[in-house]
């Protein structure tokens, strides 16, 4: 009687096989855990997709790239559903963004997205949004606030998960000493609001940073009762803010400020001598694998890219980021970057912009249009897609609201 090895990596049964009747010195018996091993000759039974070992199902699901395909995958059959996490954390690459369409301000519970990549309109019912305003979105989450800024929360429309945040109308702590000393001007407008997370929201150390109405930078962690204020100069408008490796990066008109989150250290990187920065219409941060970049946008969609260097403390003009990225614009403002390597439909090193079209005279005034351009870095336009918002009553004429990157976590 020889040695019999049954199964291998993914949870097959480890009992000796009946097929060792052939008595070879060594036999590797390939078998599925559900099937009786005596049926050596029957092949059809082993092609049972529904009863693949769950580990294998999960591995196949990890090859799925888009959120929509993942939801469909889980809807195939019961064993597949139970084998796959409803909120997969590491499986999916950052998704292609959907464009959130203008919603009815009086009834924000129904929201619509244009998924230009699958040519679909996606519709979500969000009962919790009643009486709220969609302020900003980041990685699959919306920041919602009510009109008086008393209630603030994050919401994921895919999983309908809600994460409560401290009220904007509560007192605000100082960054260094935890004392209170300030209130947010609750009469400010929500335009120009940005939210970023330092990691995913299930991490208790995840820091949520909010830029409110271009002047105020505040941060908190999930579960905090109060916001913490990051910037003190409230008279200088900010172009962008981000949090990266324990530091806040604040982008002003002619300088960049770096604030350490855990020690009292502030540094200023002057940008006055950088002509491209002074003359640009907009600028923003880009996060790359090798650090922080500043992108300056010029009229006619010309771009100048700077890499932030530590020693010496400067911004250095470079030709391109090392990773292949696509930038998404809204309202003339870069708001989202996606790694293009994961997506065939995405043109790397290019910029996608939404733009309101001049309404066509032949259409009635109730109809509304917008277009999406994609352009290369040098400003050369390559594609132009026009989207008709139609005359549905739920669409108020107006510009699309924001890009939204679907995600389960």
């Amino acid at each position: 009687m020889g040695l019999t090895i049954v199964g291998a990596r993914h949870g097959f049964s480890k009992t000796p096989s009946a097929s060792s009747f052939l008595a070879p010195p060594v036999s590797v018996v390939i078998n599925s855990n559900k099937m009786p091993r005596t049926e050596v000759s029957s092949c059809s039974k082993f092609r049972d997709w529904a009863h693949l070992p769950p580990e294998i199902v999960e591995l196949i699901s990890s090859k799925v790239k888009s959120t929509t395909d993942y939801v469909r995958f889980r809807a195939v059959c019961s064993p597949w559903r139970s084998a796959c996490d409803p909120k997969p954390r590491h499986h999916l690459p950052p998704q292609l963004p959907w464009l959130m369409l203008p919603y009815n301000l009086l009834d924000p519970t129904w929201i619509y997205f244009d998924d230009v990549w699958e040519s679909k309109r996606r519709k979500f019912y969000i009962p919790e949004a009643k009486g709220m305003v969609y302020c900003a979105s980041y990685r699959g989450w919306f920041l919602l606030a009510d009109h008086g800024f008393r209630e603030v929360f994050l919401l994921n429309p895919l999983t309908q998960t809600r994460i409560q945040l401290p009220s904007f109308s509560a007192p605000v702590k100082r960054l260094r000493d935890d004392s209170f000393g300030w209130f947010i001007n609750v009469n400010c407008s929500i335009t120009g609001t940005k939210v970023t997370f330092s990691s995913d929201l299930t991490d208790p150390n995840c820091l949520i940073t909010v830029l409110l109405s271009r002047y105020t930078v505040i941060c908190c962690r999930v579960g905090d009762l109060y916001w913490t204020r990051v910037n003190y100069n409230v008279y200088q408008p900010l172009d962008d803010v981000t949090y990266y490796n324990g530091r806040f990066y604040l982008l002003y008109k002619e300088s960049m400020k770096i604030i350490e989150s855990d020690k009292p250290d502030e540094r200023i990187v002057p940008m006055t001598e950088l002509e491209a920065v002074r003359k640009c219409v907009r600028k923003c941060f880009l996060e790359g694998k090798s650090g922080i970049y500043v992108l300056a946008v010029h009229p006619q969609e010309k771009f100048v890219l700077y890499q932030f260097l530590e020693e010496p403390l400067i911004l250095k003009q470079i030709a391109n980021t090392s990773n292949n990225i696509a930038i998404f614009y809204r309202n003339n403002y870069p708001c989202l970057t996606v790694c293009a390597d994961d997506w065939e439909s995405l043109d790397g090193s290019s910029v996608y912009m939404e733009n309101k079209c001049v309404p066509n005279a032949s259409k009635s005034a109730a109809g509304s249009h917008y277009s999406i351009y994609s352009a290369k870095w040098d400003g050369q336009k390559i594609e132009h897609m026009v989207h008709d918002l139609g005359k549905e009553p739920q669409f108020r004429p107006g510009e699309p609201v924001m890009w939204f990157q679907p995600s389960f976590v």
Binding site: A8, I30, F46, L59, V64, A75, S78, K120, R121, L158
Partner: protein, 164 residues
């Protein structure tokens, strides 16, 4: 030389260096090194002879460019060629893919396993759950709650296109 015997008792003679790509076989060989020639016979049961044949073809293709496969050092042209070849190799019916996945899993051939899984996910791309069920002959067997509530609400945003 190693002999693989399939369930229908066909014999496949493979060079040890080639068969070493299966970590399971490699371990078995290591374990029994220095013994009789008969030790070099490995029985691969419960799959038809088509699969060992496919697996060996895969081994041979990968054996021709050892080491390089996993590394970026492989020249762009070679990588493209291998990619094309793999695309053709995995372009097969879904039953064969199932057999390949099980075989790759048991024999512990990571690259083959990954490739086959990727192909399956490719097949599933942009298909509804019903279509997938049809292709793979899966009965869904959902619980009442899943059938009535969870899945329709998820699928609402996945499929419904209100304005098409």
């Amino acid at each position: 030389m190693i002999t693989l015997i399939s369930s229908d008792k066909r014999k496949f003679h493979v060079l040890e260096e080639v068969a070493n790509q299966s970590l399971t076989i490699r371990d078995v060989i290591e374990d029994r090194r220095g013994r009789r020639r008969a030790d070099r016979i490995i029985l691969v049961t419960n799959i038809n002879s088509k699969i060992p044949e496919k697996v060996i073809v895969y081994w041979l293709r990968h054996f021709l460019m050892p080491e390089e496969i996993a590394h970026a050092s492989m020249s762009h042209k070679k990588a493209e060629k291998l990619k094309k070849w793999e695309a053709k190799f995995f372009d097969t019916d879904i039953d064969t893919l199932n057999d390949l996945i099980l075989a790759a899993d048991s024999l512990d051939i990571p690259s083959l396993f990954d490739g086959a899984c990727e192909k399956v996910s490719d097949i599933l791309k942009n298909r509804s759950a019903e279509e997938v069920g049809e292709i793979s002959k899966i009965e869904n067997e959902f619980t009442h709650e899943e059938e009535e509530e969870e899945i329709p609400s998820e699928n609402a945003w996945v499929w419904r296109n209100e304005f098409a």
